[in-house]
């Protein structure tokens, strides 16, 4: 368990945004996730972005599926309505919510199991529909809440907590999103606040479907091949028992690196990944190019971060179906019900 610290009295000198709110007004409840799990940074980035954009918290709805990641909306934006739906089906709930009220911000948080397995169909179709929302995946390559099975985004040939190889092709959600017509597609690392905050800010401002794939290693179930000495004892302990009994507290991994550079990150279990931050030389406006960059860096064993694809033509589902500019949930009886007069017309048609 970890939490974003929250002193009980408001500090009068805290900086305020245009709405006169402080960051504190965007906070959430105590987290019940594992200490050291990157979601704290992700949550802070969300808080920061909303604060920066002066989004009134009650004008944002946060939705999620089921999983550790899907619990995170409890840990930010206390004053927003939240909806922890069913496993993998957040996109359809978000679609309905958005249809009902086009004037709110919609923020969906999901996991890689939630999105890439049971929810893959809904994920692909919400993209196609250009729903105006920001969809975040806390991508940890595993099923955290059900204790460490492989997810479909797990790298081929990486090992699970039981030391088995993952034999299957990994699903690249960012590539999928681009392929299926998402308007804004980015990738980042949970501990990279410097990158996350501007990404979130841009994505929340985007009209249409925005997707951020956030690499967020699971501190508990990422027990990869090579490990640093310090953890060995505890992994051995758990391995001997055949189940996870002891989860030592870990520090969250935070990183900083420049655009255009690569950075090797060592994960809690000792394994490593190389992140590469895109810079201005990347042209994010061509689908073909963006897909190419994704595929090629992947072949190089690197993970690109940054805005990978951007469709300048912002448009969303409401434009497509040409719905009333007024939120549908505000329409009143006389906007909606044609009354007895309407029935005269109808009845006549059936005579």
């Amino acid at each position: 368990m970890s939490f974003i610290k929250k002193p009980s009295v408001h500090h009068p000198k805290l900086p305020k945004n245009k709405l006169g709110l402080t960051r504190r007004d965007y906070e959430g409840a105590l987290s019940t996730l594992c200490a050291g799990y990157g979601h704290d940074s992700v949550s802070s980035a969300i808080i920061e972005a909303c604060f920066n954009l002066s989004i009134p918290a009650h004008k944002l709805a946060k939705l999620s599926g089921i999983g550790c990641s899907s619990k995170t909306p409890t840990y930010f934006l206390n004053k927003s309505h939240g909806f922890n739906s069913v496993h993998g089906r957040m996109p359809s709930v978000a679609t309905g919510a958005n249809l009902a009220n086009r004037d709110l911000y919609y923020l969906g948080v999901s996991g890689d199991g939630d999105t890439a397995s049971i929810g893959l169909g809904q994920f692909c179709h919400v993209i196609r529909r250009r729903l105006n929302m920001l969809y975040i995946v806390d991508n940890n390559g595993t099923y955290g809440l059900t204790k460490g099975q492989f997810s479909a985004t797990n790298d081929k040939n990486s090992k699970s907590k039981k030391g088995e190889d993952n034999p299957f092709e990994s699903i690249d959600l960012a590539a999928l999103a681009i392929q299926l017509g998402a308007g804004f597609v980015a990738r980042s690392f949970s501990g990279d606040k410097d990158q996350l905050i501007p990404l979130m800010t841009a994505a929340l401002s985007y009209k249409g479907f925005a997707f951020i794939d956030i690499v967020s290693p699971c501190v508990t179930f990422n027990n990869h091949t090579q490990s640093t000495k310090s953890y060995e004892y505890f992994r051995d302990h758990n391995e001997a028992l055949g189940y996870l009994d002891f989860i030592p507290e870990k520090e969250e991994i935070t990183i900083e690196y420049e655009e255009g550079t690569s950075k090797e990150v060592q994960i809690h279990d000792g394994s490593k990944m190389i992140l590469h931050k895109l810079d201005k030389s990347h042209n994010p406006y061509s689908r073909t190019n963006s897909l190419k960059v994704l595929n090629e860096t992947q072949e190089d064993g690197k993970i690109v971060t940054g805005v990978i694809y951007l469709d300048k033509n912002e448009a969303d589902l409401h434009d497509v179906i040409n719905s009333n500019k007024k939120p549908l949930n505000t329409l009143k009886e006389n906007d909606l019900c044609p009354g007895s007069k309407g029935l005269e017309y109808v009845n006549d048609n059936f005579r």
Partner: protein, 611 residues
């Protein structure tokens, strides 16, 4: 003796051959002659080339159920005529295309040959037109034979093709070709015939899905997520149609969001998301969709989100008989989803009630904060029924239930999303965006306390579950009541029914009454069951439940939920996919009587007379 305004005509065709519109015109023209008519479209689960039938019952007395025994069978499908023929009543008519010779075996029926193909060959060049107009030629001849006012059909043609006026003359020409052939060549002294009356003068002829789709517009639905599936698709199409008629503003913007989803889980998810966010939203489906929606139904039940779901039932289980009718999802809807769940069901019995219940269901969903499942079926949904005109009381106001607005929240101190403040089990909800600082909460399918907080304390969760039970019980006062019809004299036998079987039960009851049997009737209109139903069962020594499924699902639900003794609750079951007939009910009733030796005190006239 000639049967006037009281007979059955059936058409056998091949689907995709253009027969559907011609057959419908036949039915509609009779309706316009003021005569009650009940058409049933029996179509295959395929697009082109398979057998399809169209059955039209004409009944001056207004009996709207199917009736077996065909008076006049227009057999235009060579694949099926040998078996079709068997359905014709002795002395009845078989009308066929005698362009090619055919073999007929029955001696007790009359054969009327009309050279439809050759007439068309003579008058049209395009082979497709030849094919299409056969149906109209046939209609023209038939109109002469059974004495339909041809003007009416001509008007129908003009109306149908109003927007494509160039199609009118060739159709009318075909109609006249048929008429002329009949006038010149056929014996017109049939023992069936039509005569204008005024019975349907004020009525309308409409399909249940059309009426339900319209009802959604009247009920204020603004969001629909849906996935195509027979026989529910036309409900959403109707909603779309009436939205386009009634809900487009001057800028061309539409006051509704209708999305064809990728599957049924997504459609119900959308409807739930929209309702959660304060729009009235629905979805419509049939059998397989119900199964797929059951996870989400449990969420809506437990998180207490309003939802309207139309189940246009078809033949199950599995993909089953997609184009046939059944009432076989009673249990799977009443108890949909794992865990302890129960859902409110409405049972419309005709298109008019589809309209009314559709509109009402949105009030109920918001008042009760739970899914409302409207249990229609293919028979009501996709067949045309004669009903009273639809009616709307302009004083009706949407009842949006307990939703806290900004100013309510301003004053509120200790709000809890799942607190039972009023003692009716119904808590207060808030909508996203309502208030800057108050009323936000986390909606979840996991166990929660009265303040919507996650809890693993099983007792708190159990309390919450008991409150939902209470809400369910209290829902009775909002639901449509069952309708009881007393027999003309006292009786120990009661018959319970619902939905599309109602018309057959009414007719069967008349027949039984004529034969001296007295039966009290009760029509169920909603679940949970009210006290009226319980009393009805208690009031009768023998209760029969009529339903269209194999497993007597409604009977089960009654016994279960009302704690009744099943040993004197009998079933009449029809589950071959065809709407039940009055004759079947009468026969089954008499069989039950014989087999179970009902204590027929005051049941049969004769007995009473003896007393």
């Amino acid at each position: 003796m000639t049967k006037v305004n009281d007979f059955v005509v059936k058409f056998a065709n091949v689907n995709g051959s253009g027969s559907a519109s011609a057959n419908l015109m036949f039915a509609k023209s009779i309706f316009r002659m003021g005569i009650p008519v009940t058409p049933k479209n029996i179509f295959p689960s395929n697009i082109q080339g398979l057998p399809t039938w169209f059955e039209v019952r004409i009944s001056k007395d207004g009996y709207a159920a199917r009736r077996e025994g065909i008076d006049c069978f227009i057999t235009l499908n060579p694949q099926t005529y040998q078996t079709d023929m068997k359905e014709i009543l002795s002395g009845g008519y078989l009308i066929y295309d005698n362009t090619m010779p055919r073999n007929f075996s029955r001696k007790d029926i009359n054969y009327i040959g009309i050279p439809m193909a050759s007439i068309c060959a003579d008058h049209y060049d395009d082979p497709r037109q030849r094919q299409l107009f056969k149906n109209i030629v046939c209609l023209g001849a038939l109109a002469v034979l059974v004495k339909i006012d041809l003007k009416i059909i001509e008007n129908l043609i003009k109306e149908d093709f109003e927007k494509k006026p160039k199609l009118i003359p060739p159709n009318i020409k075909a109609l006249h070709l048929g008429r002329d052939y009949a006038l010149e060549n056929l014996d017109r002294n049939l023992n069936i015939s039509l005569k204008k009356i005024r019975t349907t003068k004020k009525k309308i002829l409409i399909q249940g899905n059309e009426a339900a789709g319209l009802g959604c517009v009247y009920g204020g639905a603004t969001v629909a997520g849906w996935y195509p599936i027979t026989p529910s698709t036309s409900l959403v199409e109707a909603f779309q149609k009436y939205v386009n008629i009634f809900r487009v503003n001057d800028s061309g913007e539409v006051s509704a969001g209708i999305v064809q989803a990728e599957d049924e889980m997504a459609s119900v998810g959308m409807a739930i998301g929209a309702n959660w966010n304060g729009a009235r939203a629905f979805t419509a489906t049939s059998g397989p969709g119900i199964s797929l929606m059951s996870e989400f139904l449990g969420l809506a039940y437990f998180a207490e989100i309003p939802l309207v779901l139309f189940n246009i039932q078809r033949g199950g289980p599995s993909t089953g008989m997609p184009t046939r009718t059944q009432q076989s999802d009673i249990l799977s809807c009443a108890y949909a989803s794992h865990g302890d769940t129960k859902h409110v069901l409405l049972f419309p019995s005709d298109p008019k009630e589809c309209f009314e219940m559709a509109a009402q269901s949105f009030d109920l969903a918001e008042i009760l904060q739970t899914p409302i499942i409207v249990m229609s079926d293919l028979d009501i949904g996709m067949n045309d029924w004669v009903t009273d005109p639809l009616h709307w009381d302009d004083d009706n106001k949407f009842q949006r239930g307990k939703v806290l607005k900004k100013k309510d929240l301003d004053d509120l101190v200790n709000w809890g999303r799942y607190l039972d403040v009023d003692g009716d089990g119904i808590p207060y909800r808030t909508l996203p965006g309502a208030h800057e600082t108050k009323g936000s909460y986390f909606t979840r399918g996991t166990s929660h306390d009265a303040f919507a907080g996650y809890t693993e304390d099983g007792r708190i969760n159990a309390d919450n579950m008991m409150r939902i039970t209470k809400k369910f019980k209290k829902s009775l006062k909002f639901l449509p009541k069952s309708i009881r019809k007393k027999a003309k004299k006292d009786t120990s036998v009661g018959l319970i029914y619902f939905g599309s079987t109602s018309v057959a039960v009414d007719e069967a009851n008349d027949i039984l009454e004529d034969q001296g049997y007295a039966v009290d009737l009760l029509r169920i209109r909603s679940f949970p069951f009210g006290r009226g139903i319980s009393t009805f069962i208690d009031d009768h020594e023998h209760v029969i439940v009529m339903e269209q499924n194999r497993d007597a699902q409604m009977r089960s639900l009654l016994i279960n939920e009302l704690n009744k003794n099943g040993s004197n609750i009998y079933s009449i079951l029809n589950f071959d996919g065809s709407p039940v007939t009055a004759d079947f009910i009468v026969k089954s009733f008499l069989d039950l009587l014989k087999k179970n030796q009902f204590n027929i005190k005051s049941l049969k006239k004769k007995n009473q007379q003896r007393e």
